[in-house]
Subunit: 219 residues, 2 copies
Amino acid sequence: MKSEHIPAPAVQRLSLYLRELEAIRDSGSQTVSSRRLGEFLGLTDAQVRKDLAYFGHFGHPGVGYEVGDLIARIRRILGTDRASNVVLVGAGNLGSALAAYRGFARRGFHLVAVFDNDPAKIGRPLAGLADLVVRPLTDVAAVVREFDVRLAILAVPADAAQQVAESLVAAGVRGLLNFAPVAISVAEDVSVSTVDMAVQLEQLSFRIGAARRASARAI
Amino acid sequence: MKSEHIPAPAVQRLSLYLRELEAIRDSGSQTVSSRRLGEFLGLTDAQVRKDLAYFGHFGHPGVGYEVGDLIARIRRILGTDRASNVVLVGAGNLGSALAAYRGFARRGFHLVAVFDNDPAKIGRPLAGLADLVVRPLTDVAAVVREFDVRLAILAVPADAAQQVAESLVAAGVRGLLNFAPVAISVAEDVSVSTVDMAVQLEQLSFRIGAARRASARAI
DNA sequence: TAATGTGAACTTCTTCACAGCC
DNA sequence: GGCTGTGAAGAAGTTCACATTA
């Protein structure tokens, strides 16, 4: 297969496979079948095979996939086989929590700087992170260039998000993980992924409401 | 239209429309066209109309949609027209940040309790939130029943997530917003939405890598 | 026997294009 | 003229089922 166009949902699942594979590796398995890999994620074996086949011939008929090999391949595909530098803008509650999160480092992302424009925060280390001193937003361009930063995390208030995004992009950032509850528009060669936690709760609210309505009808 | 089956992506977008509509209302507009509503979200006008039409006849030909009315209708559909009680499990960095986040309350979710099993945290108020005292996990069932809690936020380590999820579900919770980087399996009448921030960064990493590869080919 | 990779069938979602209404 | 609602067409994604390989 190894085609030109790969469905976006397939790429999303690739990350989930990676997470699952790491757990499988830690449990001691050398190989894994498409069925087992999909099981926990609620996916069919065919789906798993199709997804992986978009990227190459990774499996061995009759055997399955070699766990360590597949992890390495997926990391290469995602571009996380080498650590990449990331900056964080916004040293409030959420920003501090994100900076302290170890999951980023474990998956190949190295946080090199934190920015904020609050004079009370600038110059101080983030709570519990002695090596990360908050820097003023005016330093963004210099840091992005110095550390060849391509990804940034936005944890600023909604009304500041668009402007901060623009300065990051101007400095050379190519991907933004936005936690502000607002849509951000940037040049189309820049990727933005917005995580709006209230939206997630609303979706759950709808789904449990729909379930209740459905069961009410069934009675 | 007002059909039985509604595409999941349409429901997702409903939340985004709501967010956008609130901004439009605050900017003073009384009505909005499908084109304008979709513009910022990168959606076509047809998509917006189709999505809204799944739920009823909300618009006025020649005029558009009445902003306040549409907000009220979408809130009803999502089940957020009345505040619903939510609990949070995990009072670490992320949990504390989530508890302090005002966006939940603004969108109709009321955080009634925070749980943790760390004795050093139990009995103390969350940083900056005097009214939220951390309670032991053993209180979950009682609180869920007392406040008729249907939604819970999980901000616990990955290796605890499944177990905590099970106790929440046993207590009567019907929807889980999971921030632990692990798939959770529960009865199928319970909804789970997992937000894995490292996965989001990986997706961005892939997209900017793919863009680079594409431009390299183009040269 | 066990499991992959993949065309073909099927299902789901999106876009088009236009009748109808303000 | 402006704009919605929607059937029909088209595109995208998923599942099936089987040839193939270990």
